[in-house]
Symmetry: C2
């Protein structure tokens, strides 16, 4: 089984109260690839400019990520810059220079087309369709999206939803897409639009899974200190999809999806408690398993039979 | 075992987009008493004015709440008015007329002094001390507080904390009192101030328990529709304390506190999905038990042994 990810690869400038780094490797596909590669074989589809440092391509390769689909174009790499408030409650975007990413036209190498799992990172829904069209018969398809596409590519997004086994969105996007202030009601409406399941990422409040078999909720892992929340959502997705592609043969059950959600929660916690990709670069399966167990303890409660 | 509650009894005007009622029974002690009386014997300590309708005293009595400590004074009853936004994300306070509540001087009837459990609702910490001083040897003492007392009665609140088995506060108050934007860090600091345990109420995001034996987290019950969030926190406390006083003999263990938290979560869900006290007035233990089980299913996840 192999996991294809399509998304952005960027050069980021990240500013927190205590640390700042410029020109560092970022983008949804980077966080996703580094996280998922702990658990499965990852094949990345993305575009970079001719300014993209070789050492970052090398970083992908040291994690055994297949970079045949990482295309280099003339021009500059996607550049993003952001500053977090001292308590990380708000983020100010200082720059979003799409550069070569503006003309991104994902083409899958032949060796990618038989992949069993695919994660469509947050790109224009028309491009997400295009990636899916190039895959032979994936077992499990998940996609991210954002407010901008809900507003500006609504029809293409609507046509994508029935092609998905899983839609991964945050709570704000879920409320917008499901047209309800109640997450439960919004999730129900989104399920009716076609995806087989939904995961709503709620940041520090955890994540919820909605599926025809039922719902599941897990809090965020209680990290001692946040260093840099960049890439938390993509790291979550990487653990989720990495677990399914690497550890779950066949079509995942509701129970498998719950476990994938917990693995994603664990992986995201390593990202946020370190700066940039640092938390993912030294990650291994045992560290994830340890936090998985801590999460289970955190929600463990005994039944009561009478009241 | 008996449960004493001290708090406000008010006449409320509540406005939501679809419903409005004026002059209705409200206040922390009302929500708490109606909820807890499903599970245990409740004795209320509060003050009302001479305008307080007999039918509301009668309502307390139909729920078998001991009203010997409900004192009537010359003047008007505490009056609160508030309006919720259409999606219940914000509440505008239209009036807070303390009236006789401004001179509240809680005196416990003799028959209250041997109570095993006490809930000190959100009143001035000096008055919370005064209530505690009148109790012989309570088994379990819980208190609520608010930002205003953290700012204005800090020393008296600090002196109260070591007298508490449980401090019940919301996330904003926890961050203020624990001086950290991280709830985990804030809770740790508050525990060091003396209370044996803390429950942080996080509204639609659920509630967390912090205790020397560990932490526990439970999401909110996924109600289909919110009708009126007034009293949700006091209803949560009522289920929590009602369970301990009515169903747990002796000093509660960490496991007992988790179960109490789940019972509180269930009771609060009935409050918010109905207007005013309506959800509590037709509540019984079986309905609570049913939602307790639903909550357990919502967080149930199987271990994984290898990854």
């Amino acid at each position: 089984m192999a996991l294809v990810v399509v998304g952005s690869v960027a050069l980021d400038d990240v500013y927190t109260e205590t640390e700042q780094r410029t020109g560092i490797l970022g983008g949804s596909a980077s966080y996703f690839s580094m996280g998922a590669s702990v658990l499965t074989d990852v094949k990345v589809v993305a575009v970079v400019g001719d300014d993209f440092p070789d050492e970052y391509v090398e970083l992908y390769r040291t994690r055994n990520v297949d970079t045949e689909g990482l295309v280099k174009k003339t021009g500059k790499t996607f550049h993003w810059a952001g500053r977090y408030s001292a308590d990380f409650s708000t983020r100010t975007t200082l720059a979003t220079d799409l550069n070569v990413f503006a003309e991104f036209d994902p083409k899958l190498p032949n060796s990618y087309r038989t992949a069993s799992h695919v994660f469509l990172g947050n790109i224009e829904p028309g491009l997400q369709h295009k990636v899916l069209d190039q895959l032979e018969s994936p077992l499990f398809v998940a996609a991210d999206t954002m407010n901008y596409w809900i507003d500006h590519s609504f029809d293409r997004l609507m046509a994508l939803l029935p092609r998905l086994d899983m839609l991964l969105i945050n709570d704000e996007e879920a409320r917008l897409l499901g047209r309800s202030s109640s997450l439960t009601a919004a999730a129900k409406k989104i399920l009716a639009l076609g995806p087989k399941s939904i995961v709503v990422k709620r940041g520090e409040h955890g994540a919820s899974l909605y599926h025809e078999k039922g719902s599941f909720f897990l809090p965020a892992f209680p990290v001692k200190q946040v260093a840099d929340p960049t890439g938390a959502g993509d790291s979550f997705a990487s653990g989720f999809m990495g677990y399914l592609a690497g550890r779950v043969p066949g079509t995942p059950s509701f129970e498998d999806l719950k476990q994938a959600l917990a693995v994603g929660t664990a992986v995201a916690s390593f990202t946020v408690e370190h700066f940039s990709l640092d938390g993912l670069l030294h990650l291994d399966a045992n560290k994830i398993l340890e936090r998985y167990q801590t999460l289970l303890d955190l929600v463990h409660i005994d039944p009561i039979t009478t009241l």
